[in-house]
Structure formats: structure tokens, C-alpha cells
Amino acid sequence: MNGFRKTHDTILSVHDLRVNFASEAGTVHAVRGISFDLKRGTTLGIVGESGSGKSVTSMAIMGLLDSNAHVEGRIDFEGENLLEKTDAQMSELRGKRIAMIFQDPLSALTPVYTIGQQMREALVTHNPDMSEDEVRARSVELLTLVGIPNAEQRLNAFPHHFSGGMRQRVVIAMAIANNPDVIIADEPTTALDVTIQAQILDVLRTAQKETGAALIFITHDLGVVASIADDIIVMYAGRPVEHASVGEIFSHPVMPYTMGLLGAVPRPDQAKNARLVPIPGSPTNLVNLPEGCSFADRCPMAADICRAGEPQMEEIGELGVGSETAQAHRVACYRAGEILAQHMTFRDVYGMEESIPSIFADVPREQRQMVLNVEHLTKTFSVSGGGFLRRRVGTVYAVNDVSLDIREGETVALVGESGSGKSTTLLQVMNLAAPEQGSIELFGTDVAAKMSRKERQMLHEKVQYVFQDPMSSLDPRLPIYDILAEPLKVLGMSKQEINTRIGELMELVGLKPDQVDRFPNQFSGGQRQRIAIARALAVNPRLILLDEPVSALDVSIQAGVLNLLEDLQNKLGVAYLFVAHNLSVVRHLASRVAVMYLGHIVEAGDVDEVFDHPQHPYTKALLSAVPVPDPEYERQRERIILDGDLPSPTEKIEGCAFASRCPLYKQLSEEQKRVCDTQRPSLVGGAAGSEGAVSAGFADSLSTERNTDRIVACHWTNVA
């Protein structure tokens, strides 16, 4: 339609926007002076951690802030100040000229209306004259554009019939329904799996191209914006601290906070070469803001001037090295001059830390003791019909024939999309009971074996669990002392011993021992996860099961917790079985990795081996979907974007479970396809690394020597 309006003129301009909220603790200064100009057809990324004010900024533009918000400044849209408009005037713009996409697609659609009804509303609200036929035709057109197959029929479906990724597509379709000039996307992919994230980012690019709209992309993940944004604003504690083109931000970050955000994140595309360096401290409290620069307390470069007054955003002018765009690079930092003059990088600012050598460093893997050995583990859930008798109508194979082993002092990661059976595998190990099928052996003892109560308790002590969300895994009404003392009391330790042990534990996880009388809510998220780890360590376990241990934490906090886990392993020799969807974290922490798809392990092996030379088409797709915080790399990168979602686990699949989404499958001959459709591939030793110069043929019949312990479940790894 009117896709190519004049590009590069300013459509939206924000001047010194300030937002305050009244709260019981005092006034929350959520946004403290942000300004930017948004040009047509461009994408602005706003990056920051929770509490940085990025979402509040977007809600202020939409005019959707709560009534207790106090907003100052100007938001000019086509020469009119949006802040002076009434709700009725704003609703004429919302959805028509300025549209928004939200974070959680599962709750963003009204559950009681069909997709068609909700699409219709988006169209009719602004075009009351549209006929039913026109509405229908346009809805189908939009849904097809965002990649919903059979759009005509899906109009009558309800949101709960759709997966998360599909619902996000519907939300995008509604947002672009009226060809808006500005689209605001607030963390649109955060709640989705990486493979779906890659699809949605693609859809957003298409949507932007079709409408010619300017896009504001809000995220905490620098990797995601690297591929989509033209300009980036980094926010901290309600203020912008750095604003530049995407290339500049990634190649020459100036503000120490930006450097920290980039440096504290492990890279999925690079082998772990050094220890992560965390940004010290925890995010700034927005009620009691410090006098000077709000980042000063956490900044290694902070000087007296930084604590005296807040720095303003200033252009760094010609100092920007190798800037390929004319876009000005602006930064709010008193020490920017020095940083630029000395070409300081993340390492110079934050320094280096040495890793503690592992106590098992010199012991080859084969000689270490086996901690966990899982063989052919299978876990099913029955799906029962409704009614009086609750007949069994189907079986879900949550975990299907999974085998893995962990030795002392190593970390094994399970990765895969949600629904792949990672967490169920973890829970089966935690159960310490005979599995439905297969066997679980801990430290050489089969858990199915008959044991006395005492013996079983001993086994329990050696396996501990750390949960994803430290907010809900610690009892809010118990002081830290009691939380840590609980497992020790079970062991029958004396009060004196418990006190000593708790002191040790607090120091071990980097907390002050005199804080034990505080309650969990007096700690930050990262500190709480440290407490959860201390609780797991209390009984000297030899295996810790980690279920997404850092995914609920802010980027700047994650590094600290990852370092802690690494140190503890090196010091104590404890083994980890680790579930995560963040593949960068996996690459950094794990020594071995198993990729799961629909309850099966499809590929497993040494972490660098699997990440650098993936062989299974699913592993390849999964890795290629991970965004890398490097715009240069992102631009050159070939993405494999998987079609569709994970098939329903109730579906009975004869052959390879991945065949329905497999990019390789599409290229195969009919005869080869038949093998995929009829035979379940078994895990066999894969071709070694990159020099897998094996002639095309059945991977099953490979006679090459196994020079790695890599295993792959695919008939055709050598064809691709």
C-alpha cells in the first residue's frame, strides 16, 4: 500500500520525557529525561535492564500509563504534543498511527473472542465503514502476511488454539492492520523460544517493510537488537546513558555500563576463553536515587565528579573511531573523554579475573567417578478423556529413551525448546525412584534398588536442586538463617555445627555472614539465587540439578551467578546437570551438552564440538536462531529458520520426530524421505568435527572411528 512514504524525516520526537509514580515507598522516578527523534522506516532499539524505564517510556508514548503516573516533557507526533491529548483523542491515534506489540503473547489476546473478532475490532475501530467482506479479506491478507497458514479457517479459532509464537503473529497482524507510522515492540520475543524468536523477528522485518513504519524495539537482550536496530539507546535507572548507531554501540561502546552489558554476556558463537566479568553491585533503587551519576556505585571508573552531579548526554563528536554512519554518538559520562582517548575497552575498564583451577583439571574424564548414569529413561503422561470414567485416550512421551552420564566436576547441559522434555528429565532424576522405563544410577547405586530409609536419605543429600525463580523458591517468611539451617537440621547437626556451617556457606557464595537474620525480600534477585545455591550446597552434595538458574536474573547480575557456579565446581568438584534455554549461558558453563527434541536426545557431545560443528539439522537450526551481540556478524549470517512449532506431543510419530520441520528433509529424494518417515534414527557416533569427509550414505553404516564421543540421531547427517 503506501509503503514508501518519505523516508528519513522525523515522525516522532520525544523531548525530556519524565515519568514519576507515587508508591508507598515514595516517589518512583521511572523515567528521568529521555529525548530522541524517530525517523520513518528506521528502527530504534531501547536497551536496558528491569527498572531502566524502557517500558514506561513506550507506555508514555502510547498514553497507556496508569492514572497515578505523573508525566512531564513533550512527545511530538506530527507537530502535536501527545501528552496534551485526552484519552479519546489518543485512541484515534492508537492502533491507527501508533501501534504496539507486547511481551507476553499468551495473555495479550482476549480469551473469549475469536481471532477473527479481534482482528475485526482492530480494523473497524478506525474504519467504521468497512463492510464485513472487506474486513474478512483484509484479515486474511494480514494473517497470511505474518505467516499464519490457512488464515481463512483460523479466523474462527480462539486464542487458546494457538501456540505462543502464533499468538504473537496475530498481535503483530493487529498492530500493522491500519498501516501505522510507528510500531512499538516491547520485548516481543522475550517469552518465546529461540527458534520462534527468529521467526518473529523475521515477521517484524516484513511488517516494517510492508508498512514503512518506524519501529521502536525495546529489549534487555543486546543480541536481539543487533540484527534489527539502526540506532540504539541504552538506558540505566530511568535515564539514557548512551545513544548511537548500532555499529558504534557494539564496536565502540563508551559508557562503562554499555561496556558491561556487552562484556558480561557470554557469546554463543565463541568458545569460552575467559572468565566472565560481572558488573558489581545491583540495579539502582529508583526511589532513593544517589546524588550523582546513578551508575557510579557500580562503575569501576567512578571518580569524585561522578558522585557530585549527574552527567548530561553529550555528543562525542569526531572522537568516534571508525564510525560508518553520520549518526551522532552521544553519551552521558564524565569520563568519556578519557575512555575515548585511551581507546579503553571492556577489559581495561572492568579488569580480568583469573579462574580457580579445577581440582579435576589433571584427571582425564574417563578416570573420574561416574556421578549420574541415566540409561534409556522414559517418562510418559497419560491424556485422559473427560466424563465419568476418565478413559485414557493418549500417551505423551515427555522423555523418550534418554541416556546420559555425568562425571565428577563436569557440567552437562540439556537444551531444547520448551516442551522438549528437559525439565521432566531433571525431575525424574530428582525423584530418586525407579523410572517407568530405563534406569537411573547415582554414584554407582541404582535408585530402583531396595534401600533402607537411611540409605535413601544419604542418597538424597548428595543430589540437590536449584530452581529458576529465586523469588518463589525461598520461603518469604523464613530468615536466611532458617532457610540454610533446615537441611542441616535434617542431618542432625548440633546448633554449634550449624552456625559454623552457615557462616561458611554465606562466605562461599559471596554474601556477608552477618546478613543471615534478614528475610529473602531484603535481597536482590542475584543475591537470592546465591542463597538458593548456598541452600543446595549446605549438605555437601556431589550433584546439583540446575533448572534455568540465571534466566530470571538481569543481564548484569547473571555473570556473577555464573562465575559463582563455576568457582564452586572448581573448588568442590561438584557436578551439575543443567537445563537452560539460553544457549550462550550453556556454552559458557557446560562442558558437555545434549540437545533434546520432543523427548529424544538428537545430538550430544562436547560443548565446543557441538556448537562449532553441529551435525543434526535441528541443532544447526537451534544454533543459527540464537542472536549474537554483533551487528557485523548478524548481517552476514545465514539463518536457518524452522517452520512452524513443536508438533503436539500426543501425535504418534513413526519415524524421525523432527521430520515435519526439518530443512534437510525437504531437500531429500523421495526414497530418502521414506527412511525418515518410517525409521526412528538411533543415536550413533557422528562424523568427527569439520573434517567429516565421509561419502554420502547412511550414517548408520558409518565405519569411521569414533574420535569424539559425539552422538547424533539422524539418518542423513552426511548428506547436508
Binding site: M62, L64, D87, A88, S91, E92, L93, R94, G95, K96, A99, M100, F102, D104, S107, A108, L109, T110, P111, V112, Y113, T114, E121, A122, T125, H126, F158, H160, V171, M174, A175, G386, G387, F388
Partner: protein
């Protein structure tokens, strides 16, 4: 859908049978209709007492199992729910009182729902504004007053009005007193009787709906999909009306479905205060008078009403919420 309902009804019949049987044995174990005769002065001869008790099938000298089988045969073959100790028919008593209950409770129930839900929506949209605070304070105040006190207060107020007006505008007992043929006058007389119990019941009922509906709507108003609707260009009020309201009505509709059962089983306290012979009072009376058959019959009747309410609640929920499937 029909299959589901049929299945549920079959299921309920089994539950009802078990519940009624248990009530029969419990009532037979605890109630002593013989004492009704024994305490009379002068005491009737033993033979005639036994004869009367046998006639009503509540003689404690007959084994309870025999009485139960006899009673059950009567219910199943003749729809005869037995007799009270004074030989009156239980079935007839219930039917005549059901009419009174229906007249009394229907209007109050409808008004409670309409007024309560409307005020709930009104206050939720104006959360923490003065209208919300005032209405909430009043609601909380009424909520904590026991229904009997509330009814007596209404009576007291009405008598004051009658005194000031100098004529009888409001009747404080019964449902009817007009004896003539004129329908208009009959209806006016009925309203004059009905208005006071209706006010006292509506006050209590509406407050409940107001407070719950307000909470339900507030929960939904902050839902993400309301924000999505506003981002599409709906004003706050449109978004609430079209999106939040329908979702918030689902739990209310379910409790309305349950309350329909209450229409038939009556309102004990209100009936007592206003001297209306409804089912609520009848229930209390049967227990007081050792009326085994009456107690069982009314237990069966409220059982049926409650289960019908539960079934209605399920159907209503499935009708309003496409995520719920009845199968």
C-alpha cells in the same frame, strides 16, 4: 453437549439417592416423633399413639429398614413423600409453601443481581475515587449486619413511616391480606406486603454481588488483553466494556446459577421475621417437630435445587468461556 448433560444428570441421580438415603437414616436415628404424643396432656392411649405413628410410617418399634423400604416404595411408585406426625401430607405442605417462597425470593434475587453487579462495575471503574470509597464503606457496613437485624431494622423503619403517614403503607407480616376479587387491588396489596422483605433481602444480596463483581472486574481490567485492546484504539471505557467485563462476568454468572437454587429453598430468617410460610421456615419447623418425612423431603428438594444450580453454572461457564469444553 447433550450427552454431557445426560451423563451429569445420571451422575447426580446417584449422588442424590445416596444423600437422601443417608438423611433418612440419620433423621430416623435422631428424631423421636413418639415424644410428640407422649408429652401431650392428657396422654393419649398407647394403642392410638402407635396407630398414628404406623399410619405415618414413623413408628420406632418397626425396624428402620422396613420403614425405609416402605417409604422408598411410596416415593417411587406413588410419588408419596409420606406424612408428618400430625398425619398431614408432606408433599402438599411443600407444594403450598414453595409458592410462597417463589413469590418472596424471586424479585429479591433478580434485584440483588442487577443492582449488585451494576454497582460492582461502577465502583471498579472508579477504583479509589470517592464514589468507590463511599459505596464500599456502605457495602461493608451492610455486609457485617446479620440478616435478622437488618430485617428488623427495615420493619422498624417501615412502622415509623406508617405512623407518620397515618395509614398502613407497608405490611410487616405475611404476603397477602386482600380477600376480594379485584386483581389490581390484589396486586397492590401483594406489593405492599412484598416490598419490605424484598428490601431487606436485596440489601444483603446486592452487597455480596457488588463486592465480588468489583474484585473480578478489577482483576480483569489490569489484564494484558485489555491493554492490547486499548492499543488497538479503544478508549478505556470501551476496552473495559467489551473485553474485561465479559471475562469478569464468568465467575459471577456461575454464582448466579447457584443462587437460583436458593429461590426455591427460601430464606429462613426473612420468612421468620416477616411471618411468611415459606420453605425456609418449614425446614426449621419440621426439625423442631420431629417430622422425619418432612425433613427428608426438604433435604431431597434442596439437594435437587443445588445440583440443578451446579449444572447450570457449568453450562453457563461453558457458554461464556470458549476455553471450557463440556465433554
Amino acid at each position: 453437549m447433550l450427552r454431557y448433560v445426560a451423563k451429569r444428570i445420571a451422575n447426580y441421580c446417584v449422588m442424590l439417592f445416596v444423600a437422601i438415603t443417608m438423611t433418612y437414616f440419620l433423621a430416623s436415628a435422631f428424631m423421636d416423633p413418639r415424644s410428640n404424643y407422649m408429652s401431650r396432656n392428657p396422654r393419649p392411649p398407647m394403642d392410638s399413639i402407635n396407630h398414628a405413628l404406623d399410619n405415618a410410617n414413623i413408628n420406632d418399634q418397626t425396624p428402620v429398614i422396613t420403614r425405609y423400604v416402605r417409604w422408598l416404595t411410596g416415593v417411587v411408585t406413588r410419588w408419596d413423600w409420606g406424612k408428618a406426625p400430625d398425619q398431614s401430607s408432606v408433599g402438599e405442605a411443600i407444594v403450598s409453601r414453595m409458592g410462597a417462597s417463589l413469590q418472596l425470593v424471586t424479585l429479591a434475587t433478580v434485584l440483588s443481581i442487577v443492582i449488585g453487579v451494576s454497582i460492582g462495575v461502577y465502583t471498579a471503574i472508579r477504583q479509589y475515587k470517592w464514589q468507590d470509597r463511599v459505596l464500599n464503606s456502605i457495602a461493608t457496613f451492610i455486609f457485617v449486619i446479620p440478616p435478622a437485624v437488618l430485617a428488623v431494622a427495615v420493619v422498624f423503619f417501615a412502622i415509623e413511616v406508617n405512623t407518620v403517614a397515618g395509614s398502613r403503607l407497608f405490611y410487616v407480616t405475611g404476603l397477602h391480606s386482600y380477600q376480594g376479587e379485584n386483581f389490581g387491588l390484589w396486586f397492590l396489596d401483594f406489593l405492599q406486603h412484598l416490598i419490605l422483605p424484598t428490601i431487606s433481602m436485596t440489601l444483603g444480596g446486592a452487597v455480596g454481588y457488588h463486592l465480588t463483581q468489583r474484585t473480578y472486574l478489577l482483576d480483569e481490567m489490569n489484564a494484558d488483553y485489555v491493554r492490547t485492546a486499548r492499543a488497538k484504539g479503544l478508549t478505556l471505557n470501551q476496552a473495559i466494556r467489551r473485553h474485561a467485563l465479559r471475562n469478569s462476568l464468568i465467575p459471577t454468572a456461575q454464582s448466579v446459577a447457584f443462587s437460583i437454587a436458593g429461590v426455591f429453598t427460601g430464606a429462613t430468617v426473612t420468612e421468620s421475621v416477616f411471618a411468611i410460610n415459606g420453605l425456609g421456615r418449614y425446614f426449621v419447623t419440621t426439625i423442631g417437630q420431629n417430622d422425619i418425612n418432612g425433613t427428608v423431603a426438604i433435604a431431597a428438594f434442596s439437594g435437587v435445587c443445588t445440583l440443578v444450580g451446579a449444572l447450570l453454572a457449568d453450562i453457563v461457564a461453558a457458554w461464556l468461556d470458549p476455553r471450557i469444553r463440556l465433554n
